[in-house]
Amino acid sequence: MSQNRPEKDDPALDAKKTISLPISRVRLIMKSSPDVSSINQDALFLTTKATELFVQHLARSSFNNGCGKESNSLSYSDLAKTAEETETFHFLTDILPKKILARDYLKSLEQMQEEDADL
């Protein structure tokens, strides 16, 4: 309810010039991890800052490796490609799966069923 209140007048305001993501939200995400008991202010600040750097890095890498350079666009498939091809972004493959067409999926499903039938 009043979860955002306690920070209102301290670190969030101070950090305004250096970070733009809300510290309170980042803390909530960190705290959702069951084995974390407490986090000090500096660690919280650093994680928030790191998340911003990560967003920039992911967007830039995906744009540079992607196929939207000519059309000046960044699409989901560029991100999925980066997650698959770049070592450091590998941990994202679960949430950035490559899209496949329904007909391709159905085809592979059929194939699998045929193989099963053969056995």
Partner: protein, 148 residues
């Protein structure tokens, strides 16, 4: 703990702004791509937290600190973040210190005023001062627990 699943998302407006600033002017970022980056950022926080927590556990500490987060970045092979992170932390710490001094001064002024009104003795004033400082330290340390 998070009450709603949306609580674990980062605010879209801020994420969109960070993406915009990172890319050349006029790049069109699809809605789907923006959502995906935002989700990726949440996963990044969890991944970094869990790495950092492992370092804290190894050192038998219960509280995550700055060194744990930096070590986590190295382990995740985001060494490129280390320098900007250290620089940002420096700025942040300076800001914190400055703010603390200001609030301390304000509080002392307030105390003085209060003391004049009540005509308190000098001894009382000093005692109170110490007590308040101690209290401040405690609330700062306890801050991370506030939300639960």
């Amino acid at each position: 703990m998070a009450e709603k699943p949306e609580d674990l998302n980062l605010p879209n407006a801020v994420i969109t702004r960070i993406i915009k600033e990172a890319l050349p002017d006029g790049v069109n970022v699809s809605k789907e791509a923006r959502r995906a980056i935002s989700q990726a950022a949440s996963v990044f926080v969890l991944y970094a937290t869990s790495c950092a927590n492992n370092f804290a556990l190894k050192a038998k500490r219960k509280t995550l600190n700055a060194a744990d987060v930096l070590a986590a970045m190295e382990e995740m092979e985001f060494e490129r973040f280390l320098e900007p992170l250290r620089a940002a932390l420096e700025v942040y710490k300076k800001g914190q210190k400055g703010k603390k001094e200001v609030s301390e001064q304000k509080r002392k002024e307030k105390e003085k005023k209060a003391d004049c009104e009540h005509e308190k003795s000098k001894e009382d004033e000093e005692g109170e001062d110490e007590e308040e400082q101690r209290m401040e330290e405690e609330t700062e340390e306890g801050e991370e627990e506030v939300e639960n």
